[in-house]
Amino acid sequence: MPDTQERWGIPGTYVFDLALSRQGYAINKMCNSLKFDENREAFKADEEAYMERYGLSEEQKQAIRERDWLRLTQLGGNLFFFLKLGATLGYGLYTIGAQMRGESYEQFMSTRNVPGAT
């Protein structure tokens, strides 16, 4: 994670600034390509080749292999783009969010005012 995150100093928060955006550019560019169905199929058919094609670093590839959304965020992934990866792999927003909080989906839902409003 770039040092610039320290200037924000907001606990549990990764501010998507230009430094983080540059670090995560390959992730976000790859994820953005997954808005097209044929690319989603290509990704699912061979994840390693697809990640290689977009030039992800080994750390970034590993975060994706492990479906580790928090790590992916720390490495510059932006949720609005990696939601397309989530959709390709069957991970929705609240599943991703619960994992980033270190909670189960059910635990996370129990913290909400009206969990029916999804």
Partner: protein, 281 residues
Amino acid sequence: MGKIVAGIGSSHVPSIGRAYDQKKQADPAWQPLFDGYEPVKRWLAEEVKADVVILVYNDHGTEFFLDCYPTFALGVADSYAVADEGYGKRPLPDFPGDAAFSEHLANHLVADEFDLTLCQEMALDHGFLTAMPLLWDHDDTAWPVKVVPLLVNVIQHPLPTGQRCYKLGEAIRRAVEAYPEDTRVAVVGTGGLSHQLNGERFGHINEEWDKQWLQRIQDAPRELAALSHKEVMTAAGAEGGEVIMWFVMRGAMTERVEEVHRFYYAPMTTGIGLLALNNSD
């Protein structure tokens, strides 16, 4: 002459669009929300009767990519498509633009030193779409108003400051009032209120801060606009930083405003705020 006839602040959340499309108006989890928008929809239809809506929004990785990201971008087209955000296109009609009015705005705002990116095509995602059917009735093919989309970068820092957004709103008012046609213009600022979609603090909301926001944006908007992004995001969450788009709306209104309606609901991960304002000067 052009005239600003309403200012609306409204959150934008994908789940609201899904609930609308799935006709969950009577679902207990969603009914408060739809009921909350109803008086504003009625006011807009019966009293405001706007011809054009300038709607301030942000894209969420749908139409704009980081390869080339505008700070402010204005639609200058005669129609705008509903975007597919990856779950299929929402069953809403595409939007009619007003290219002549957009062109006037572009000329006036750039001359007023706001150097906007101008877009001949813009597919609109939930940032734009969420509020529209809650505020204006539509049928299968048509909307009762024309639209001008105005995009603000709230995704990748550096974001424009709150004060810059406020000044853009003031410049929009000058531009509208210089428009020679008799045109009734509503300005809608979208986004917020508190929410956070990244990190260990995912799901952070701050209901107290949101409720104060709905009051202070009326009484003390310049104080709010002077807050730093860090101050706003610390209180309202990283994605809560997008509330700066409300300042474009507020800056376009008169110094003093009259509240027509206010609504707040925080069911899941976003403090959903709605505010309808009238000019009082």
